[in-house]
Every structure is written in structure tokens, then in C-alpha cells.
Amino acid sequence: MKILLYISSIVVFLFTGLFYFQENIFAEWRGHQLAYLRQLKQINQDSEHQEEENLSIKLQQIYLPEMNRIDRCVSCHVTIEDPRFADKKNPLKTHPGNYLEKHDPEKFGCTICHDGQGRAIVWDDVRADSKEKFWEKPIIKKPFLEANCFRCHVKPLSETPTYNRGKYLFETSGCLGCHKRDGRGGYLAAELRGLGDASVHQKYPTNSLDPKLLPKFNYNRNLAYIYESVRFPKAQPEDSVMFDFKFSHDDALALTVYLKSLSIKQPGIEKLPQEPEKPLTLLARGKKTFQLFCSACHGENGKGGVKNRNYQKDVMPTLNLIAEKMFLYEKEDADAVIEAINEFGDLNLTDPEPDIPGFNRVLAQFTAVRDIILNGNSAAKKDPEGPAPFNMPSWRKSIPRKDVTSTIAFMISLYDFEE
């Protein structure tokens, strides 16, 4: 019995001591701050200036109550604002670039840009990039880091080239033909706002099925999945109806960065004010709308050729021959129609009517096209027993009326009157 008492007491004493040592002597952050003091001494060994005498080893943090964050990164990253450490290794490295001049760490903290677990003081827990760490926002590295700029920023920045490319690709590939973004878009696929917030532990999206992808994304499963679903849509689920856009690796990467930026508003953060955009011309607006909503199914610039399963006509309608369908055989007539739409908004509201032959026929066709866009249209099945083909969605809720008519104007302008 006495032996058991001695052993138990020694064990209690030993492990409490181990806890003490771990916390007060062998803590990571203490080691880094000590290394900092040593390096300071080295830097200052020639001069008389002894700044390290005034520095004590203690936990540092940036307290940001409006954002409900506390960032303790500065306990290890002591030198982010000290230019003398620019050539050293992390964590004692100066912050690259001039970002800190525009984003005062005391006001912004660190995790608002870099993600990671700000309240932790152990690097593995801060990084939180493994399955055993239950933090939903692991530290994010370039180029995906660019996505986080757009928690506040609205305009594309020169510092975010990958994001800019991704945004361009998104808005010209017709993604919103199936997906929704901020409630606007097609009905066949998921709403994309919030994709940037998905995490391993929110279990959405699921894991990439290709283990070779993971290392490329710093083992961040969600980034790997977003990339995989953009580049290899048929990987999962196998019966996915998403088209294969045959993106290159770089383009898929850029799209991943853009999609990562589609996150839900963080508490305490306000987006920068949106500068008023230069108003676009009618055709530019129409092109923009077309590229955003229509081009995936109807082809780039309406050239068609996109297969529609079990559809009677096999492929989705081409839209660059609309002018002909609308009985506009001369370029002047087409231009007059476009002018009328530009002036009055809708061909039904023109006063006076444009002076073109058979305007009533043109008007009827225009209205028919406009109504198909607004109300949708169901596609006839080729094989009655087969699966349903893709229907034309109703865009009434997603596209403002002005943009619908400008899209029709754009489609009219696509017709090649030369031949």
C-alpha cells in the first residue's frame, strides 16, 4: 500500500511538473521571443542602443471585439513590423510587401486575411489544417490568400491577379446558367455564396477523390474539392450533369481562388463602398449578361453545339442567328431595332415605332424571345422513357428586365450580315 502511495504521489508530482514546464518553460512562443531577443542583441551588439532590456517575454494579442476575434499571432510573430528582419525566417520575419501600412495590424489583426485559429498559441493548432483540428478556417496560403482580400475589397486589385483571372473566367463561362450566386442564377446547381466558408468539418463540400491533388492545396480538402469540381466535374458525383469546360490547370486554379472568395459576411466587417460603375453601353451590358448566364448552354457568343441529353434536337439552340429568326434581313434594320431597344428599353414601348419593313412580325418574335427568357421553356423529349432534358430556366427573378432586352439586342448584333 505504501508503495502505491509513493508511486502515485511521484506520478502526480511528475506530471504536474511536466505541465508546468510545458507551459512556462518549453512553450513555443517563449522560444520564439527568446530567439528574437537574441537576434536583437546580435543586431545591436555594435551600437550602444540596448533596446532588448525593455522587452519582457509575455503573451501578446490583438483584441478585436467588433469582429469577435482575438489574434495571438503576435506572440510568435513579434517582428512583423520590424524591417530589420526582412531576410529572416518565419516566425521572426517581417511582413512582406507594404500591406501593413494600409492595414494596421492593431485594427485588422491577422486572421481576417490569413485565416487560422487566432486564439491558439501552438502552431499546429493555429494552422488547423488537418482532420484532427476542428477549426473551420485553416491558414490559407497564396494564391488562395487572394480570395480573402475580397471580404472587404470590391474592385479587382493589382495584388490579386489570380482572383481577377478567376472572376473573369467565372463571368464569361456562363456559370450562372445552372448555379446561383447571391440568389440569382439557374436552378440546376448549388448556390455558390458560402462556398468559401465550407470546411472539412462543415462537411461541404466533400473530399476530393484524387489523393494526388491534396498536396497541391496544402492539404486543404475543400480547396482541392473546388478545384476538382471545376476541372474534373465528372469525378464526383459520377452522375453529375455539370459540363466539362476543359479548363487548364491555371484557369481552374484561378476559378478556385474566385470561388473561395464567395463567403458569407464575417461579423464586424463592412465591405468597402462600391464605386459607381461607368454605365455600360447597351451591347456591353447585353454581352456581360449573356456571358454570365447564357454562354454555358448556348455556347460562346451563342454559337451553340452544346449537347442536351434526350432532347429532340440533340443540342441546345444556337442564338447567334436570332436576327434572321426575327425577320431582320438587313443590317440597318437590326441596328434600328437595337437603337429602339436602347432608347425605349423594350421594343413594345417604342414611340414611334422604328421604320423597318414588317415591324409587327419583328415585334412578335422579339416578344416571343423575351417571354422565353422571362418564363422559361420546357424541352421536348426525344425518348419519352428517357431522362428529362435540360429546360430553359425562367430568368424573371434573376435578370432585371433591362438586362433581358439588352441581351436580346446583343444576340441580334451577333448575326453576321456580311455573307
Binding site: 500500500m1 505504501k2 502505491l4 502511495l5 508511486i7 502515485s8 504521489s9 506520478v11 502526480v12 506530471f15 504536474t16 511536466l18 505541465f19 507551459e23 503573451l59 494579442q61 469577435n68 482575438i70 495571438r72 485559429q117 486564439r119 491558439a120 498559441i121 501552438v122 493548432d125 476542428f134 477549426w135 473551420e136 470546411s199 468539418h201 462543415q202 462537411k203 466533400t206 473530399n207
Partner: protein
């Protein structure tokens, strides 16, 4: 100590003042510990008797009670763990914030920057798990040594009440970290509270008598788990249930003394007492140290415990022997808790997200067996069978009134054999029922339109209860002994609890489907 300090006229008041000041330390000590040095049996007895904390002990204990392989110190471990939990709990209360906005963040701050926060939190978590285990084992020990007989019946019931409080404390504390684990485990618990709806719906009584929803609302303070539930659980966990548990613990310990002390056999083989501390002073005689007389304070009810082996040689002083053994048990369990705390961090998953259920959502481990039963029938598994179990346990001392071998494990060789056979029977029954349900499903898989009432009454849980009851009654008949029937039933209950808990924790995965191992769960 009793010398009077006469104010000698030869000593001036001023020098008396300094003399008193000088003698302050020893006078102070003497006023605190009025028994003086613990070198005489009388001093030791008085130390125990006159100290409010120590006088729950008797002044002398029987050597048999000190055998470690009799009680395994489990009662002390329960109390010791409770004390550890109170201390660590009080420390945690300084930093924990019981508000849905701040609870999770306060946990993170506790772990990372509160000095010793990680240690205190881990000790609290593992201490809680160990306390549940210790309470189970203590109940088993008391049962198997027949220590619920001979006047100790009510103490057994008090012990059951303490057991329920322990589980309630653990359950309420589980919610406080406000992470996914906490939120969804509590969801399961709250829905079990609402499970009488299964019964009232099957009987079409819900419109008049919706006790299920009432219970759930009482528990949560709302219809879903939110701030109301958190503050309610915090209050229960930190204030109300610890108070209740302390009160009942006082009664429990008081009853031990009044019912005759720690149980032991009437006749003790002297070989069993080898190696235990001896009463070396029994042979010596010594002059009484004073002329103090004692008044009769109370008569302790109950049959005078026969003391064939209770001669003075076998009674040893509580100080130091019983206290030493208690201290050993306490240090042992403290060592285990601290070692566990060093190597394993208490879990903290991502913040609670009401729209994203855990899959599988699992109750705390000691309720997993229950959850398995709940998967068959919510009412039966959540309320029906636990009530039957608790009532059955509470009835044991009142049904088994045989004057059996108190203080002997398993009664005798026959009893040991019976325990092993019962364990086998329980294992086979449980595995059989589990195999049937995993491979073939149950009634609703075969007869989709079957009334729910049939499933409530006939499901694997109730069938197991029936099988165990039949086995127990069969045992009573064969051995012509109620005690043996009790052993059979208790063993079946204990073993089936362990098996169901193991099964639900390892072999139940997403959507409560059967998986051979957690690594085979589908990547979600």
C-alpha cells in the same frame, strides 16, 4: 494545555503581554487541535471524534475494512473524484462564460492562455468520466459483497440517487463547451426527454396529455437548444446538482456509520487479515491520561454486530491507518486522472452549428447503450427500460432479505460460477439481438404498417429485459435462493450495459448504421 495561566502579581501585565505573544504559535496550534500530539490512542480517537470533517469516520476501524481487494477503495475514489471535480470546476467557473456567443471562445481561452487552463480542463473532463466509471464499479462492489443487507437497505437507495445525480451532472456539463459534440449530444438527450410522445402518439393521447413536449421544454427552457438551455444547464451543473449531491452524500456517509460501518463478514478467517496494520497497543496497558467522563449520546439501532473476530486486536485506529488507505486511494485516482490529462486533451470540436448535425450524433459514452435501445424504440429505450432498471435496482435489498454472507464477494464458489454463467448468458443474448437487428432489421422492416405500439412493447430492449428476468427467476428456482436470483439479474444488467455501450460507441456510424470499425465510416 490545561494549565491555567495565573496572572502572577510578580509578572507585570506588560511582560505577560509579550509572553503571550511569544507563545502565540503553540497556543494557536493547541486551540485548533485540542487533542494534542497523536501519540496515544485516546488522542487519535479524539482527533477523529472532535473534527467536523473527520468525524464521519469511526474512531477505530476493523482491519478487514482495510483490505484493498475487498472494496478496492472505490467509494473513496468516487468521493475523491467528486472533490477533484469541484475544485477544478470552481477554477473553470472563473473563466467560463455561459452564453452562446462566448462559451466556445472562453473554452479556447481556457485551453490556451489561462495558466494551467489545459491541465484544469482536462482533469475536469477525465475526472468526470472516471467518476462515472467509479460509481458503476462501486455499485457493483456493494452488490456483489451483499453490502445492502442488515440494515443497509436504505443506503443502497441513497446510493442509487447519487448515481443518478452523477449521470445528470455529467450530462449537464457535457453541453457547456457549446461545440458540435455538446450540442448534438444534448439534442439526443432532449429528444429522449420528449420520447413519451412516442407512447402518447401511439395511444392517440397526445392531444390531452403531451408530457413528452412538457419534459423537453422543462429541460431546455425553450423548444430548441439555445441560450435558455445553456444557462439552465450551467445552473444545474454548477450549483444545484452539486448541492444536491453533497447533501445526499452526507446522508450516504452518515448512514454508513449508523448502519454499522463498512460491511464485513460475521466470521473472518484470520488469513484474510494478514498484511494489514495491526493493533500493536492491544497488549499494552497504559494509564488513563485523564479523568474525563463520557455521556451517552445515542443508541445506534440494529442488531449488535457479532464480534467473534472483533476483539480489540482487530480494531485499529482510524488515524493513521484508515486515513492512510483513503489517501492512497485518492492519490491513485488523482495520478490516473493527471496522467490521462497529460496525454489526452479533452475533445473540443468546431463551434455548435444548429443547421449542421453531427453524423452520427452520439450521446456521452455512458448513455450510448441507452441510445442503442432508443434506436429501437424512443420511449422504451429512453425512459421505459431505464426506469425499469432503476426501480429493479432499488428493489434489490427489499426483495432479497436473505441473511446471506455479507462481506463475501459473490457469496461463495457457487455464486462466482453463477456470475460467470450469467455474464455468458447476457453476452449471448445481447449479441444475438444485435445480430438480428443489424442483419434483418426489426418489425417495421418486415411489416411496414405495423402499429407503433407493438414495437414499443416488443423490441430488442424489452426482449432482453424479458430474457434476463426469465433467467433470474430460473436461477431462483434452481438454487432456491433469492440472492442468487439477484446476482443473476444484476450481472445480466451490468454485462449488457457494457456490451451495448461498446457496440454503440464502436460499431455504430453515420445514420446509426452498422460498421465494423470507425475507419470504415464513409468519407462525408
Amino acid at each position: 494545555m490545561n494549565e491555567e495561566r495565573k496572572i502572577d502579581s510578580a509578572v507585570s501585565a506588560l511582560s505577560q503581554y509579550f509572553q503571550n505573544l511569544k507563545q502565540f504559535p503553540q497556543n494557536f496550534l493547541a486551540s485548533v487541535a485540542r487533542h494534542g500530539a497523536l501519540d496515544s490512542r485516546r488522542a487519535r480517537a479524539q482527533a477523529v471524534f472532535s473534527n467536523v470533517f473527520l468525524h464521519v469516520h469511526s474512531a477505530k476501524v476493523h482491519r478487514f475494512s482495510l483490505r484493498w481487494n475487498y472494496t478496492f477503495g472505490l467509494g473513496i475514489m468516487c468521493v475523491g473524484l467528486f472533490a477533484i471535480l469541484i475544485i477544478t470546476g470552481l477554477l473553470l467557473m472563473i473563466y467560463y462564460r455561459p452564453d452562446t456567443q462566448h462559451a466556445y471562445n472562453s473554452m479556447k481561452d481556457l485551453i490556451y492562455i489561462v495558466p494551467s487552463g489545459r491541465l484544469v480542463r482536462n482533469v475536469h473532463r477525465w475526472g468526470a468520466h472516471l467518476m462515472v466509471i467509479a460509481v458503476f464499479l462501486h455499485m457493483a462492489r456493494v452488490f456483489y459483497t451483499s453490502s445492502y443487507k442488515k440494515g443497509r437497505e436504505f443506503n443502497w437507495v441513497i446510493g442509487l440517487v447519487l448515481f443518478i445525480f452523477t449521470l445528470a451532472l455529467s450530462f449537464t456539463g457535457y453541453l457547456l463547451p457549446w461545440d458540435q459534440l455538446a450540442y448534438w449530444a444534448t439534442t439526443i438527450g432532449a429528444n429522449i426527454a420528449a420520447s413519451p410522445r412516442e407512447l402518447t402518439d401511439a395511444l392517440h393521447l397526445t392531444w390531452i396529455f403531451d408530457i413528452g413536449t412538457l419534459q423537453k421544454r422543462l429541460l431546455l427552457g425553450a423548444d430548441s437548444i439555445g441560450n435558455d438551455a445553456l444557462i439552465r444547464f450551467y445552473f444545474l451543473h454548477s450549483v444545484f446538482l452539486p448541492l444536491l449531491l453533497t447533501l445526499f452524500l452526507m446522508v450516504h456517509l452518515w448512514r454508513i456509520r449508523k448502519d454499522g460501518g463498512l460491511s464485513r463478514p460475521d466470521v473472518i478467517d484470520s488469513r484474510l487479515l494478514e498484511g494489514l496494520p495491526e493493533n500493536t497497543m492491544a497488549q499494552k496497558t497504559f494509564a488513563a491520561k485523564s479523568k474525563k467522563t463520557y455521556n451517552l449520546v445515542a443508541m445506534v439501532r440494529g442488531k449488535r454486530i457479532s464480534f467473534d473476530d472483533d476483539s480489540p486486536e482487530n480494531l485499529v485506529d482510524t488515524i493513521p491507518h484508515a486515513l492512510t488507505y483513503e489517501f492512497v486511494a485518492f492519490m491513485f485516482i488523482l495520478a490516473i486522472t493527471i496522467v490521462l490529462s497529460y496525454f489526452f486533451d479533452a475533445p473540443l470540436k468546431e463551434p455548435a452549428n444548429p443547421i449542421l448535425p453531427e453524423n452520427p450524433a452520439k450521446a456521452p459514452w455512458y448513455f450510448l447503450g441507452l441510445q442503442e435501445l432508443v434506436s429501437y424504440s424512443a420511449f422504451m429505450g429512453g425512459i421505459g427500460i431505464p426506469t425499469i432498471a432503476i426501480v429493479g435496482l432499488a428493489l434489490i435489498p427489499y426483495i432479497d432479505r436473505t441473511e446471506g454472507s455479507v462481506g463475501k464477494w459473490f457469496e461463495n464458489k457457487s455464486g462466482l460460477r453463477l456470475t460467470l454463467w450469467s455474464a455468458l448468458f447476457a453476452t449471448v443474448s445481447c449479441v444475438a439481438m444485435l445480430t438480428i437487428t443489424v442483419n434483418f432489421g426489426w418489425f417495421r422492416n418486415w411489416f411496414p404498417q405495423i402499429p407503433q405500439l407493438v414495437i414499443i412493447v416488443v423490441n430488442p430492449g424489452t426482449i432482453l429485459v424479458l430474457l434476463f428476468s426469465i433467467w433470474s427467476i430460473f436461477t431462483i428456482k434452481i438454487f432456491d435462493s433469492i440472492r442468487f436470483g439477484a446476482i443473476a439479474l444484476f450481472t445480466c444488467f451490468f454485462v449488457s450495459f457494457i456490451i451495448l455501450t461498446y457496440f454503440a460507441s464502436i460499431h455504430r456510424g453515420p445514420n446509426w448504421g452498422f460498421y465494423w470499425w470507425p475507419s470504415l465510416w464513409p468519407i462525408n
